[in-house]
Every structure is written in structure tokens, then in C-alpha cells.
Symmetry: C2
Subunit: 188 residues, 2 copies
Amino acid sequence: MQRLVLKDLPRYECLVEASRQFPDLQPAACEAFMHLIRAGEEVIRVMNAHFAAHNITQGRFLVMMLLMEKEGGCPTATTPAELADLASVSRATITGLLDTLERDGFVRREPDPADRRQMSIYLTSKAQEFMHGILPGHFRLITQLMGNLSSGEQQTLSRLLTKVSMQALSLAPGETDGPAVSGSGETV
Amino acid sequence: MQRLVLKDLPRYECLVEASRQFPDLQPAACEAFMHLIRAGEEVIRVMNAHFAAHNITQGRFLVMMLLMEKEGGCPTATTPAELADLASVSRATITGLLDTLERDGFVRREPDPADRRQMSIYLTSKAQEFMHGILPGHFRLITQLMGNLSSGEQQTLSRLLTKVSMQALSLAPGETDGPAVSGSGETV
DNA sequence: CTTTATTTATAAGGCGGCTAACTATCAGGA
DNA sequence: TCCTGATAGTTAGCCGCCTTATAAATAAAG
């Protein structure tokens, strides 16, 4: 249901202590990193509890969100390939999710007459009703989760996290062992 | 290897638009929430790539971190129960992790002579070497991930995320549908 | 028509969570 | 002493979600 995370983060002095043994450890960066991981997991834990109370999972919820018709011209998916792309997972994963959603009567697969390789995925009316029943509580929960922050703090948080995301994306493809370390033999 | 997440976040106007349909949706809170989820996942993705390059997983890494001897008096675990507690997972989960770690020669289980129900878990010297080989790169990676932020921004981020974590913890046990909604019939 | 690319689905596998049930042990009390 | 209850760890069975590799149908381009 959730992911293995530290319950209590090490105190800052502890990080400073450890940075003597490991000069690459920057206490402030490390602390921000751990807070990020933990806050993300705590928030996901709360969301999962909400989902579980409605007999759904985060994956199925996201797929249905992506399938919902939106007024504001936001991205909407209709095929498994689009879903996989929007969610950054493999198509096989989406097939599995759609299988269970279809079994439970939440989505319908229909062959596309124009391109017969493609399937079009539609939310059933049952799913529409379900989502409209669950979404107000979902949004209230998000509001509550962020309720300790002022509007300004929420914006600051968004800004800082965007920076982190961009950095993470830039680090994703290339290898990890820092600059100018080409092959220092830690390939255990 | 990672979790299903939105690749591209909806634009802010899109959230404003949606907030007309769902009055409970607060665009700024929702945006911060999504940035948090996404940044967390992106960061975890990068870390997982690093772990995978060394044939390890995040769970096994965390267990070994908890087992390492630390100088600064930080929390260290020696029994499965302590590990489960520190990591907030069930003991059965820890048993599974320890099984694979033991199979790969990273930990040793020894019965506690004082209380024969208990096992004491120790890192092998192989694991010690492994961790000392991997940790510098690990910490460098964290430093890089947070490298887009100034020291002040890192501290601000830690502070804001702490607020979010605390709020999430306070929301964890109680139910989710907001205040004064006792039983409005969305128990689909 | 043939080749190549694309879309979906399937199969097999792995990780990492969970609960429930079981064994062994410890500790307290009648 | 023996029963009882709590605790530590393992086991068994389950599920969610992810992967890669493969297959089958179709499309598109030469």
C-alpha cells in the first residue's frame, strides 16, 4: 500500500556528523531530500487511504482521471498508448489496469473503426458517477493537506519543487556518479 | 521500478477552469500537491536508477542504512522488529528483505542468547564495503538533485515540507471527507 | 506485394507491500 | 508447577504495479 520510508528523519547534527565521514554529504541538501521523500510518501499514504475507502487504487484513479472529459482543453486520453504516454508507464501496465477497470465495469473498450489496431477507451456512466462522487472529497483532502501553508507558501513550494523536478529530469538519462569521476571503480 | 505519475502537470488555468466544476478544488493547493507528488517520484526514479546500477533496491538499501553503525548516536537497528518500526512496514516485509539480503551475503542473522525469541542482524563485511563504495556516489547524487536550489531555498523547502508532513500525519488516522460531512452517502 | 512500423495484448517474472496463522519463547500469577 | 497472555520471527497466500519479450493484427510506405 505504501513504500518503505524512514519514520523519523535523522536530526541535523547527525547529518553534520555523518558529513565528516562522507565529505560528499551536504547536510542541507540531504535534509531537503529526505523531507521531500517523506512528505511525498506521507501524502501518498493519506491519498491511498482515501482511495481504499472507496475500493479503488491510485493507478486506477489516475487512469480514470485521464479518461474524464474536461472542459478546459486539458489533455485527455482515449487510447491505451496515450494513457501509457501520459502516465509514463509501459503499455503492458496500462493493459493490466484497463483489464481490472473493465472487469469492474468502469471502462469500455471499443475498436476504432478508422484504425483497427487501436482501441478507444471510454468511461462508463458508472465510472462517471463514481468519479463525481469521489472527486469533491479528493479535492477537499488536497486542500486540507496543503492547508498548513499560506497561498504564498504554496506558490513557493511549487516553484522550488519545479526546480527539483527539472534537475531530476536532467539527471535521469546520464549516469549518476557526479562530474569528472569517469570510472572510479565502484561498480560493485 | 517506479510509480505511476503524470508526466506533464495540467496548466494552472486548467485547474482554475476545473475549480468551477468542483468548488472544492483550490488551484494553488492542488498545484503544490501535484508538484510534490511529481518531484518525489522523479527524485525516486533517479535514485532507483542509481541503485539498479549497483544491483540493489531502495528497500534493501534502506535496511542496510539502518543497520550501519553510526558515530553520531543516530538511531540504529539490530532486530527485525526495530527495522520494521523504523521503516514503518510490517515485520513480514522485513523478513522478506532480510531473506534476500542474507541470500546475497549482505546480512547475518544471529540468535540473541539473552532472549531466544529475538534475532540480531548484522551487516557482513561485504555489505560494509559495498555501502562504503556506494555511499559517496549516493550523497553526490543527492547534492546534485538539490543543486538547483540555494542553501536558503533548501532550508525553505525543508521547512515547508515539514509542515506538509505534519498535516499529512494528522490526517492519517481520521477519515477524509472534510469537516462536518458526517455521512453524505458517497460510500460507493 | 513486401517490408517496416505501430498498436494492443499476452506471458513470465520481480519487487515489495499486506494479513493471518503458526512456532517458540518469555513473563506473570494461581 | 502449570496455565495464560504477550511478544519475536517466520511462513503462506495474496495483491498491485511495474518490467521485458513476444505475438498477432493492422497500417503505411516502397
